[in-house]
């Protein structure tokens, strides 16, 4: 099964925060993470975002982003010290320098930055409905056709997934031997994928016809996108976003 949203019904002001202002804050804070090199501030921001995730969802859920990147963090711990060989040696085994001061400094910076970006992006997806993200992108200038492509794609993800699953099951039924083996699955890839693509392509003219039936291309359009209407006005939300970004900027540059 394919899920078409990672939205988690939770609590807190992030759920009431306008998606447009939220997207703006996410992008600005991500930029700040790249500009800032103050470790204490970076980790403080990470702590704040983690606490926000904890408050918005629950403990188990709030650890989820960490689980998705833990492998990469291990890779970073293993490889980043090899990049920075010069400088003050901090850890040494025999004649081999394991880590220098510069290496640990950069490792700390990269881990903090990557963790921060991961948590902020995930929190945005958890607390914003997919339809609101699309409407926010529309407000930021995504064209009518572009938004239509995104909404239609979301509409067709489950049906494409279902038809692929059915075709795959049908191919597996033909096999007399161990039908679930890896070898069997690899052999079946090309015919399964070809059949799934033909099924998907055959539905395109019908989809185009239904678009025309719904008024697409007419001068008097029969439908329009919903307007996001935040509580207390959009600009108040943007003002809060600017204050949050300003505080983060102050923390990164002054402390």
């Amino acid at each position: 099964m394919v899920t078409t949203s990672l939205y988690i019904a939770g609590r807190g002001f992030l759920y009431k925060f306008d998606p447009r202002a939220k997207l703006f804050t996410l992008l600005a804070l991500t930029l700040l993470l790249f500009l800032g090199s103050n470790h204490a501030s970076l980790w403080l921001l990470n702590l704040a975002v983690f606490l926000l995730a904890l408050y918005s969802t629950n403990f188990k859920q709030s650890l989820q982003p960490l689980k998705t990147i833990i492998f990469l963090v291990i890779i970073m711990i293993l490889f980043v010290p090899l990049t920075y060989r010069d400088g003050t040696v901090v850890i040494k085994i025999g004649n081999f320098t394991v880590a220098t001061k510069e290496a640990l400094f950069n490792l700390n910076l990269l881990v903090a930055r990557f963790l921060g970006i991961t948590y902020m992006a995930t929190l945005f997806i958890w607390t914003t409905k997919m339809v609101d993200i699309q409407l926010a992108l529309r407000w930021y200038g995504l064209s009518y056709s572009g938004t239509l492509i995104v909404t239609l794609a979301f509409r067709f993800i489950p049906s494409v997934a279902d038809s692929f699953q059915m075709i795959q099951d049908a191919h597996l039924l033909r096999s007399a031997s161990d039908s679930t083996s890896s070898k069997r699955r690899i052999v079946d890839v090309v015919p399964t994928v070809t059949a799934a693509l033909v099924v998907a392509l055959k539905s395109i003219p019908y989809m185009a016809m239904s678009l025309e039936h719904r008024g697409f291309g007419r001068d008097n359009k029969r439908g329009s996108y919903r307007y996001l209407d935040p509580q207390f006005g959009l600009w108040l939300h943007f003002l809060i976003a600017v204050v949050v970004i300003g505080v983060a900027y102050f923390a990164f540059n002054i402390f």
Binding site: T68, M130, F156, V160, V189, V198, L201, P205, M207
Partner: protein, 181 residues
Amino acid sequence: MSKKLANQLTAIRIALTAMLTAVVVVFTLIVRVPTPIKGYISLCDVAIVFSAYMFGPWVGFIAGGLGTGIADLLGGYAQWAPLSFIIHGLQGLVIALIARKKVVAKIPADASILRMVIAGVVGMVVMTGGYYLAGGVLYGFKAALSEVALNAMQSGVGVVVGIIVSKAVLKAYPPVRALAF
């Protein structure tokens, strides 16, 4: 061209791009092939390469970029979504532009196998190099090296299977030619 025909073409193009975007998402999220080292590679590159070979640069760019971007959002890797959009979008765009050069009907899948392979290899370099650069900026260039081999393998499988599937679909469903633009 009459206004009605232009509208019909636009509706077809939107439907085509949306459907291929959905196909890329599905191939990224659920279609996985086991590897000998007990891991999995996704077939997202097959869908991107197919879109580029069959329908040209713009469908390759939008379906490839948007599809992988959405898949990252839905798969819990939201931080990669903008990067995937750019990298896989460029991969689709480059593949189609190279493959369809000197092809009369402007369907890149009509090109010679050699040209399709060259286009696919350039796309592979764009994808692998793009992720290496992005990974290098995000978590260090030495650490990003660890992903290069897997990305290259996934992309290579995508090119090979993509070429076979494109030719197979052209034979199995000839009206698909009318959808290319």
